[in-house]
């Protein structure tokens, strides 16, 4: 049995800008595969090539064994696609949008209702409300319902959690795990590195290239270095002082703490003392597990050095 998505040396340029520089990966059936990378990494371009909206300039790709160039019509009836920005009709109601997309795929809402119940169920009370009046999280749930209503075998979700509140984000990921249990392959992108751990496998993406493809755990094992989490009274000044310290290789803000990658032989108590000597109070430094974001920055840093 072929993989759900096969990507082999895929390249795409926009004039002088290289959006995809020859990426390759196979996504297995029933897998939740994450594309992790900052804005402009080429995630949306990869999505658009895979859902047959853009022609690649090089390489090949297949979805469910169907070539994205030659068999694009067959692919279009089998996949569900949710673009990066809200792409439903804001002046239609929740229910009108869903019914329209059902008709588009020549199915009825009723026959596939079981699949979307978990997601659309939350929207039912607002079904006569115009889509424009929904919150960010609600909009994404509606868009997901519309992308699912024809029971696609592969789901392409381009940044579904961007602009969504943390609670709804959590719920959306819960829904994706539900869909995975129903055998749907999911390719999902996100700029939030901490969401990577929710995927079966991830590709770290930067400037149109995959930096690494592995499970989130493998990524951390491979690239994770000793990481300290630091906090103090004046976080922004602390960040600058930590960066200036010779014992610190890298330091960046991570939530309510700063993540520090120490150089070999650096000592945690001494770093704290040095910070206190600079006038920082209530400095607290402890060991922490490196996250995907730490690894991402680590890999990008390494590549810059090599270059």
């Amino acid at each position: 049995m072929t993989a759900a998505i096969e990507i082999d040396g895929l390249a795409k340029r926009y004039g002088a800008i290289e959006a995809l520089g020859g990426v390759s990966v196979n996504v297995e059936r029933g897998e939740v595969f994450g594309l992790i990378g900052p804005d402009g990494a080429g995630k949306s371009t990869l999505f658009r090539v895979l859902v047959t909206l853009l022609l690649p300039d090089g390489g090949r790709a297949a979805v469910e064994g169907l070539d994205v160039v030659k068999e694009y019509k067959k692919i279009r009836s089998r996949v569900g696609y949710m673009p990066g920005r809200f792409s439903l009709y804001p002046d239609l109601t929740v229910e009108e949008n869903l019914r329209l997309f059902a008709t588009l795929f020549r199915v009825t809402v009723e026959e596939n209702y079981a699949l979307v119940r978990g997601i659309y169920g939350q929207l039912e009370p607002f079904r006569h409300r115009r889509a424009a009046a929904l919150s960010g999280g609600m909009k994404q749930k509606l868009a997901l319902s519309c992308a699912l209503i024809h029971r696609p075998s592969v789901l392409f979700l381009d940044e579904p959690t961007t602009g969504v509140d943390p609670v709804s984000r959590e719920e959306l990921w819960e829904m994706l795990r539900d869909l995975k249990r129903q055998g749907i392959t999911i390719l999902v992108s996100t700029p939030y590195m901490n969401e990577a751990r929710l995927c079966d496998r991830v590709a770290l993406m930067q400037s149109g290239r995959f930096l690494d493809v592995a499970t989130p755990r493998e990524i951390v094992e491979r690239h994770g270095r000793t990481t300290w989490a630091a906090r103090g009274e004046h976080m922004s000044r602390l960040l600058l002082d930590l960066r200036a310290n010779p014992a610190v290789e890298r330091c960046f803000a991570f939530g309510d703490r700063h993540h520090v990658t120490p150089r070999a032989g650096a000592s945690m108590p001494r770093l704290r003392e040095e910070m206190e000597a600079l006038g920082h109070r209530q400095v607290e430094i402890r060991e922490t597990l490196p996250g995907i974001e730490d690894c991402f920055i680590q890999i990008v840093g390494q590549q810059k050095q090599e270059a």
Partner: protein, 375 residues
């Protein structure tokens, strides 16, 4: 999986209905589509008028006599001309014209009556501001006719020796401007609704990204586009009926020819305009661009070159050639013939052919230009 597969007609209906929702839920769109045409017709009918009515006349009659009074009375007796001022010198004529106190001056030569009856020819001068040549020609033409009539009464020409041309105004004896602009406004409004509104509505789906989602579906894009333009086709028919009703009952411009063929040629023009709209949507990416293209590149030429404002016959050959490329010009010409002149349908064969060819070409171009993918 699809136990009850939806038929193509029901997909078509669903998307046409959706477009109706878009139109009726946006107040601005519905205003442009249904209210603006009515306002335009009424505006053109009553406010913008090129008819000769109550033209202010200045009279300069150095030596009044029976003949000059008769001529002046005849001129001022009509609704067309009103006496605004009695002038006393040629300099006064110019001053009054410049100040806008009068629109036209009637200047008699001294000893007018004697010349008229004995020495012949008696002369009378019409002085008019020709900044607007059309209006000036209209005023003087009207006045000359009346003066000539009065002259013949005062001094009947001897026998059959003298030759006089008599003008008869066919189809529009009262010289009403409405007769000229109703066909023009029909062309303008149908063009606006069909071409501009459809192109904007299609491009809006590009802009908001909904087209992206629609493309990733088994539905044929052309079917969706066809469903999209359906409401505009229907609303254009409503507008056609509104304009015709307004022109017959409010502006007193009757449909002189066959109503059936008038509607038929209008439908043909509507289809051509819709295909222009689709074509514009295939070459533009944003709503603003679509509006500029249909507004500047389509509306302006339609206004200027279609005969709505300036008669096509009076244009330099280059512009006249250019006007042949504008579908509205053919439509307006066909409506003038069918509706105003009451000509049989065979007369507009050339117009119908031109419209059919343009429509076929645009549909072909749109289909060729239409992309099944982005960019």
């Amino acid at each position: 999986m699809n136990k009850r597969p939806f038929s193509t007609p029901s997909l078509f209906a669903a998307f046409a209905r959706k477009e109706f929702y878009h139109i009726f839920r946006d107040r601005r769109t519905i205003m442009i589509l249904l209210v603006m045409p009515v306002i335009q017709v009424i505006l053109f009918g009553f406010a913008i008028t090129t008819e000769v009515k109550h033209v202010k006349i200045g009279l300069l009659d150095p030596v009044p006599d029976v003949a000059t009074r008769r001529v002046a009375d005849r001129l001022l007796a009509s609704d067309y001309f009103d006496l605004a001022r009695v002038l006393h010198s040629p300099a006064g004529v110019e001053r009054a014209l410049r100040r806008g106190e009068i629109d036209m001056a009637l200047v008699f030569e001294p000893r007018f009556q004697r010349r008229l009856l004995r020495d012949g020819p008696a002369r009378v001068q019409l002085v008019v501001d020709a900044t607007d040549p059309n209006t000036a020609a209209l005023f003087t033409g009207h006045a000359r006719q009346i003066i000539a009539d009065a002259g013949r009464e005062l001094a009947p020409p001897a026998g059959a020796t003298s030759l006089a041309a008599e003008t008869r105004l066919l189809h529009n004896p009262a010289m009403k401007a409405a007769y000229n602009f109703v066909p023009g406004v029909m062309g303008l409004i149908l063009m606006l609704i069909c071409a501009m509104m459809t192109s904007i509505s299609i491009v809006r789906e590009k802009e908001t990204g909904t087209l992206e989602v629609l493309l990733v579906s088994p539905a044929r894009p052309l079917l969706i586009i066809a469903a999209k333009i359906m409401p505009y086709l229907l609303l254009s028919c409503v507008n056609l009926a509104t304009i015709l009703l307004l022109s017959v009952h409010v502006l007193d411009v009757p449909v002189a020819g066959s109503l059936f063929w008038l509607v038929a040629i209008s439908l043909l023009f509507i289809i051509v305009s819709l295909s222009i709209g689709i074509f514009v949507s295939t070459v533009t990416r944003s709503q603003v661009a679509a509006m500029l293209v249909s507004g500047m590149l389509l509306m302006m030429p339609v206004m200027l070159l279609s005969g709505l404002i300036f008669p096509v016959e009076g244009m330099p050959p280059f512009l006249r050639g250019l006007s042949c490329l504008i579908p509205a010009r053919w439509y307006i010409s066909a409506v003038k013939r069918l509706m105003i002149e009451g000509a049989p349908v065979t007369v507009i064969a050339r117009e119908a052919l031109a419209l059919t060819c343009t429509g076929a070409l645009l549909v072909a171009l749109s289909i060729k230009n239409f992309k099944n993918r982005l960019s």
